[in-house]
Assembly symmetry: C2
Homo-oligomer: 169 residues x 2
């Protein structure tokens, strides 16, 4: 798939087939995530690849919009590492760029995924911390269920010319 | 350019040739940015396209890492809109995803760019607010100088297997 096309056709996928996702695809997805830009190139991120069915099924207990994870064969938790951060406060942007790269790699491979927000909601952060045994310096940003799409979506036509300003507001 | 290749070869470009960037390319870049995911699909973003040479040249007065903007023919300021946000605190992630889409579109078109962090540094936020006449509800996140690359960079080999965890930390 061509790069611009991938950017314009990626959508949130919440329905998945039974087809498993290979480790090779997961590695490609993780690599793309790690090639995201970060403040001062600090790369302050970690990734928890969750394949354990029991763990996946427990996510909706702390996340209100995560029911689709019951069908996804794998999910990736994107985390910031407070100890790796050199530029205070930028880990959110860095891990968001990594999350977006991850979603685009998923789409480029013919898979589907959805960005479940974790940070800054305290109950979701604590739920993820407990379920995945995260140390105190590890800050969960997003959780991404991944699988083969069992839905397709039309072009949402998101371009809004009124959101563009020339030179000054 | 193929999507996965684009993700793995995008780099921060800080040297630009004199070649101008067309309005058509800028439109494609903005469209890609607006197709980013956002919390609850709120799309809480605005974009200031800066082509005015005088404005571009004043950016280094408030941003310490922005000297390359003296050579770039155009820059885009990515902003969040507090009034468009439905899910408190998610605008940073939303606008970061839009910024990353923007950078990938730039790269996919054969252009180059670099992510200059604005939020959460107060002096950069205020500098951008004054220079670009931003209203109080508009929160500048990042500033992206764009042009034709006058440098090429080798593969940085960023994949770090020690940052990957299976099922639990």
């Amino acid at each position: 798939m061509e790069a611009i096309e991938a950017l314009l056709t990626r959508r949130s996928i919440r329905k998945f087939t039974d087809q498993p996702v290979t480790d090779e695809h997961v590695d490609t997805i993780l690599k793309a995530a790690m090639y995201a830009p970060s403040a001062g190139n600090t790369q302050p991120w970690h990734f928890v690849v969750v394949r354990d069915r029991e763990l996946l099924d427990m996510v909706p207990e702390f996340h209100p919009y995560a029911r689709m994870i019951l069908q996804s064969p794998v999910a990736i938790l994107v985390c910031g590492d407070r100890d790796l951060q050199k530029f205070d406060g930028f880990w959110i942007q860095d891990c968001s760029a990594a999350t977006e790269n991850l979603l685009l790699a998923v789409h480029g491979l013919g898979l589907g995924a959805v960005w479940l927000g974790v940070h800054p909601r305290p109950e979701r952060i604590e739920g993820a911390r407990k379920l995945f045994d995260l140390p105190d310096n590890i800050l969960p940003l997003s959780l991404i269920p991944i699988g083969y799409p069992d839905e397709s979506k039309p072009d949402p036509e998101r371009f809004k010319p009124e959101r563009v300003h020339l030179n000054k507001w």
